[in-house]
Amino acid sequence: MADATLTFDEAMEQFDPVLGFEVHVELNTKTKMFSSAPNAFGDDPNTNVNEVDLGLPGVLPVVNKAAVESSIKIGLALNCEIAESCRFARKNYFYPDTPKNFQTSQYDEPIAHDGWIDIELEDGEVFRVEIERAHMEEDAGKLTHLGGAAGRIQGAEYSLVDYNRAGVPLVEIVTKPIVGAGRRAPELARAYVAAIREIVKNLGVSDARMERGNVRCDANVSLMPKGATKFGIRSETKNVNSLRSVEHAVRFEIQRHAAVLAAGAKVTQETRHWHEDTRTTTAGRPKSDADDYRYFPEPDLVPIHASREWVESLRAQLPEPPAERRKRLKTAWGYSDPEFRDVVNAGVMDAIEETISAGASAAAARKWWMGEIVGRAKVADVDPAELGVSAAAIVELNGLVEGGKLNNKMAGQVLDGVIAGEGTPTQVMEARGLVLVSDDGPLLEAIDAALAAQPDVADKIRAGKVQAVGAIVGGVMKATRGQADAGRVKELILERLGVSA
């Protein structure tokens, strides 16, 4: 039976939402968290495993130093404290995707804690999200349940397990409760996960592909009556693995909780499964704070000491944070808010930066990328960068136009040639015989012919209706098969008619 919901507006009239997120980030280290087996996606099942990943009798874990470095970088990027000493612990529970029947994780001593991140929504409103901790752990294997209707372990006839993912390094980023988002909670949820994804991708520590599960989100939602300070009972929607789903899941849970509470009932503390097709959640297993994982310090590993020198050397390696970089570039380029947002949304910010540093002006770079290349990419259904237009080619092309060698229309044809692999803009221009008619003699002939063909227009222009010049320019361009500089043509027409522009 489907859960009752209030509308989002109804929910927001009565309640304040409180959010919390646990985002798991798979690191892209060469090997696993505790073994030398490859950390790779998409290979045949149970091929990227060794005796450690399978939990065979007698094996011992060894910590992957690269994974620790990546974890520290994530902690630093989230403005966290990095613990001078931290430990791993065992989280004990029986489940067949966990080869040892315990997960080696961090419990009371995470590597990073007490950070924050500013999340900017589309209209520029900024929310600060406090980070409780970021800790290291290992991923579990992947189970595929067959023979049952729901694809879940209950009711399955049999299950297949692939341990390739078992032992893949994970960093789990846990927020403190997020209050005060109000009706922007669903948007904030999406923007938060997007920001985490962007940060880990920018750090180079994760492939950050949500569709492959590199970034996975568990979203906690609770409601409290408007103005209250005591949090309500929360639900935890597991594995919401796209940005759109995060937004929808939070919205749905707010509406579902609101209906429960408005009816005077209590929200059940439980995990929820997200269903993309219906954009709803269904009950998972009851979850209480008394879940007993019998955590204790991992006796097979020694504590990790992160010396301040090491942490500072990693801090020095951090790339500029994405949000700060955007702010800096927007100011430097002088784009308006909507112009810059379009650039970001089109995914050509990096390309424009490169084009500018290759010598183009900010305005020219935007004109070429947003005006010409993005549209062509859309038609070809590829990312703009994949069209293979180099920054140098754009600078060259732009120079040809500004130098009066090409007009805009011809430049578009040259760009097509560059994309088709016909060579540099100059080579394409020459090969295709695209030469701007710049000798005034032939142009004047064409202008006189055009004026003679449209005497009424000529009269209008003489009478001061300068904007009518377009019709004459059009005639000239047609006569020269487009190979004329429209600006120069206009000048000559006005000169001919004795009108000043």
Binding site: L60, P99, K100, P299, L301, V302
Partner: protein
């Protein structure tokens, strides 16, 4: 009895390199002895005849060919060895003494096995143990008990009763054991052999099936202190596969054993390791040993370790806690035994439950349940947390004691070998047998047990334990070898020469 089986490993190594005997002869002699007496002793769970002889012949061939390969042979090459069946080996089953692993073949070798193979010691087979090394008598083996060569009605100690009995019965000159609370030293004591628990981290644990990770340590079992030193040097050293392994080099152990002296050393008697619960004959032999050391120039002092009385209690919380987690992997999903429930639905939980119910013995279950309880929310601080604090106190007791003494001495076990079945129904009585050995595991310090003679009341071997500060394993071997030579001078030869005759040997006396 054939001199090839009564020789020490050091003697065999010398004879082999002098080409007085071949490794094949030595290995065959031990295989013959196993065939002759193991029906009575039951030290072995698996005998590795073919591979052992293949390795032996290979050593002989290399030695016969001479040249660089022969010169490059490890000094111990060709000396056979037995392996406790808790240590994984390619090509032989590894059971941990449990039904749950019956028939399982490891696809990888433990680090110590890699080193043994590299040094070309023929592996005679795998020795019996209490299930997952949980016990002090080997009676908790799923495959039947091992018997003490001194009296077949008595226990050989445990958990490493198989390795100790194999060495005591001349079935192997050397063996590897594991020691979590005394599983190398206590069997050594009750079988009249030498057993050493090295400093925690001195020998890689990679490939030793974990019982209690923070306490487990692999170590040598032998008939002489020098042999134990040679074997620890061979298998020890840093291992990148074991994060708890030390980077220290332990390469002066055999030299220490050869230098054996006690002159000027301060040796501390631990006041708390004696008295009530200790058999008079054990205490008598212990006092004799102390007097011998005093006579040889050692300064004897008394030290107090007041927190040792809490050691057993702390041990029986920490060890089962780690056991409950370490043994969780045995669930029938990936390897080993899988039992389907008799009736009712076939779910993963129920298959895991049925497998573990059928596969684990009573003592393993007892410890899993104890440990699960001790780690539970609400009990963790009172049990596991308190036990860890006691562990710190015991480490401080050792620190204080080693400020007064270079080395500590005690009886290894409070009694000589008890009768099979005697303590099987009384776990607490069984646990008390490890009262003197457990503190070393809790503190990570090394301990050595060597034969101290026979108790007057039952004529059975008594063990003397030496304890040194962490990383000072060499000190144990130096003093152990000195005491051994003083004692053997009194006895007119090794203590095992007094052991009863086994098998088809008709002539009696040992050469």
């Amino acid at each position: 009895m054939n001199e090839l089986i009564t020789s020490t490993a050091a003697q065999l190594a010398a004879k082999l390199s002098a080409k007085e005997v071949s490794s094949e002869e030595v290995t065959q002699a031990h295989l013959d002895r196993i065939g002759d007496v193991d029906g009575q002793v039951h030290a072995f769970l698996h005998v590795n005849t073919e591979e052992a002889l293949t390795v032996a012949r290979e050593v002989d061939a290399i030695r016969a060919a001479g040249g660089e390969d022969a010169a490059g042979l490890h000094p111990m090459a060709g000396v056979p060895i037995a392996i406790k069946d808790l240590i994984v080996t390619v090509g032989q089953p590894t059971t941990a003494g449990s039904r749950i692993l019956e028939g399982w073949m490891s696809p990888y070798d433990a680090t110590v096995i890699k080193k043994i193979r590299a040094a070309k010691l023929p592996i005679l087979g795998k020795t019996n143990l209490d299930e997952f090394a949980m016990g002090s008598s080997t009676e908790h083996s799923a495959f039947g008990p091992t018997r003490n060569p001194w009296d077949l009605d008595r226990i050989p100690g445990g958990s490493g009763g198989g390795s100790a009995a194999a060495v005591a019965a001349f079935e192997a000159p050397l063996a590897l054991g594991t020691d979590t609370g005394g599983s190398i030293r206590q069997p050594g004591a009750v079988t009249g052999t030498v057993g050493v628990k090295p400093t925690y981290g001195a020998v890689s644990r990679y490939g030793a099936i974990a019982m209690a990770s923070s306490l487990d340590q692999i170590g040598p079992v032998s008939r002489s202190v020098l042999d134990a030193a040679l074997l620890q040097e061979l298998v020890g050293g840093h291992d990148p596969f074991d994060s708890t392994s030390l980077t220290d080099s332990f390469d002066t152990l055999a030299a220490a054993a050869r230098s054996g002296s006690v002159e000027g050393l301060r040796i501390g008697i631990v006041k708390e390791l004696g008295g009530e619960g200790f058999q008079p004959g054990v205490e008598a032999r212990f006092r004799d040993a102390v007097e011998l050391l005093r006579g040889a120039g050692a300064q004897i002092v008394e030290v107090s370790c007041p927190n040792f009385k809490y050691a057993l209690g702390a041990y029986y919380l920490i060890m089962p806690s780690e056991v409950s987690s370490n043994l969780a992997k045995f669930d029938g999903v990936r390897y080993g035994l899988r039992v389907l429930p008799q009736d009712g639905p076939l779910t993963i939980e129920r298959v895991m439950g049925a497998t573990r119910a059928a596969g684990f013995g009573a003592e393993a279950k007892r410890r899993i349940i104890l440990g699960t309880y001790a780690l539970s929310a609400g009990y963790y601080d009172a049990y596991y947390g308190s036990a860890q604090k006691v562990r710190t106190l015991i480490q401080r007791d050792f620190d204080a004691a080693f400020a007064q003494a270079d080395l500590l001495i005690s009886p290894t076990a409070p009694t000589t070998a008890f009768k099979l079945g005697e303590k099987l129904d009384d776990p607490l009585a069984m646990y008390l047998n490890d009262v003197a050995t457990i503190p070393a595991n809790l503190a990570g310090v090394p301990g050595l047990s060597l034969p101290g003679g026979l108790a007057d009341e039952d004529g059975l071997p008594v063990g003397i334990q030496l304890l040194a500060p962490a990383r000072e394993d060499a000190r144990l071997y130096r003093v152990g070898a000195a005491l051994e030579s003083l004692l053997e001078a009194q006895w007119g030869g090794p203590l095992l020469a007094k052991a009863p005759v086994l098998g088809t040997e008709k002539t009696g006396g040992v050469k």
